[in-house]
Symmetry: C2
Subunit: 322 residues, 2 copies
Amino acid sequence: MAQQHLESSEAYGTDAVLGAHLRNRATDFLRALRQHRESGAAGDTADAARALRRAARRISGTLHTFRPLLDAEWSDALRPELAWLSGTLAHEHAYGDRLARLAEALHRLTTSTVAPPAQRAEPGTPAAPPGRETLALGAAKAAALLDRQLTLARTRAHSTALQALGSSRFHAVADSVAVLASEVPLSGADAPLDRFAAEAEARLTEAVAGLGGRPPYSQYDSGSDTPWHHVRLLLRLHRYALEVVPGPPADAVRLSSAAHALNAHRDAAEAAAAASQAARTPRIAPPTAYALGVLHADQRHQVEAAREAFLDAWRREPVSTP
Amino acid sequence: MAQQHLESSEAYGTDAVLGAHLRNRATDFLRALRQHRESGAAGDTADAARALRRAARRISGTLHTFRPLLDAEWSDALRPELAWLSGTLAHEHAYGDRLARLAEALHRLTTSTVAPPAQRAEPGTPAAPPGRETLALGAAKAAALLDRQLTLARTRAHSTALQALGSSRFHAVADSVAVLASEVPLSGADAPLDRFAAEAEARLTEAVAGLGGRPPYSQYDSGSDTPWHHVRLLLRLHRYALEVVPGPPADAVRLSSAAHALNAHRDAAEAAAAASQAARTPRIAPPTAYALGVLHADQRHQVEAAREAFLDAWRREPVSTP
């Protein structure tokens, strides 16, 4: 296929490389959309929705980073629509993941895998230490409460996504992407792709530098998450730009670890908020609230751990592949 | 003074060194007891009680480590009495410390020191993120509940300590220590002090080695604390033995850091249990239970951090002082 030739060749110039990349992502989008329509099993639908989101995010990111090379009016109109689409499709998946994450955490918090010999040997020792007993009381109810709340949210998100995919707003997006698959509206500006990719990297580097030297904060304060979420978006844009203008392959591993850590950061922060939200349900029993408090703190500690993991990955020297 | 000469000299032999050490600690005990009786201000009383506990622990530890060199019947009778005394005197202080620790933690959990500019700038953003709001609701009540419970426990411990110090059981201990200050009942066995000190160190090293390679556990399970508490006691015995048979001075810093970490481990574990205990108070409000859950998890995370800190200190090479 002509597109494949174009994609791997820089000899065709800036316009050709960018054009080929966008056409390929548009093709990915249309293929995912066809899969989604033809899929019967829920698993296939989820896979197709993921591929659709993946393509939409990449198109949107590329339009953002290389904006001056593209028709501004067209790209400024399409970007928010792609963001709306990928956001809408992401919710169902996110609620499901959040529920799984919180259920796993509650299970971990209340499951003992060590029975110390010293305690076992002593007669008259209570079967479980007081901390875990209190926790076990509420954990089952907390799990049921979260299951109810997040399953409901997920079901609603599913309906919203289905409605979105049947809407005229979605059909307009799909039509725009179909045009993009054959013809990319370039601005005709003459500037090297590298410059825009370097600018995306510089924005990321600056934002990461801003993370350090922040005043001390309470780790239970989700207000401190915002700059990290922002870095997550800038890192994504940087990685998408590298798909157009490849960097050293060794660095990809480092950036992938960093992105993984920031995804975990976002997931833990949202899970902590869900636990906290559930604790505000009227008329819950105190042990349920207690378990949700433990869960909230547990997830906030994972937020902390994810920040450490990100900074570790970020500071790591790229491993040179021999 | 003759005792000071004896203490710093190994030329006088095993009996003389051990005898001088025990006489000096007995003198410390009697001085602290006199201070305690003469003290008027609460601060002075607390200082004297601390010195009394300190001396009692050292005498007891020395009797334990160097047992074969001492009159067995006498030492086996005195050791549990010294343990009873230092245990009884420790409680009041421990409840006070625990309350301060938990109050500080609750304050930290609910105090925001960062107001992210992004959130501040956006109009319509709620003043506090949902997590902190829920927490703030219950934190004040949780603090009041813990204050009530731990102050009551502290007052009771104070009365118990006062009763203990006026009891005939205590007077018998004080009499034994007074005798010890002038004459140490040695067994007459001929063995080098180093051997017993080395045995104390070996017991500690073995116990520390046993901490690694344990099966995975839930960090909320206080059952996993037991071997660490045991290492704390063995480390104390090792350090007390080094006061009789000095090791390399550089190692003292390492051992002091390790001991500090295990004290923090014990304090955090007991604070977590107190939070959990408070959550079982009948008829508390759900937000109070929620805050206690967060507090429990926070202290259990500090238990984890203290374990890491201990292992770091333990593995550290002794810094050689030039």
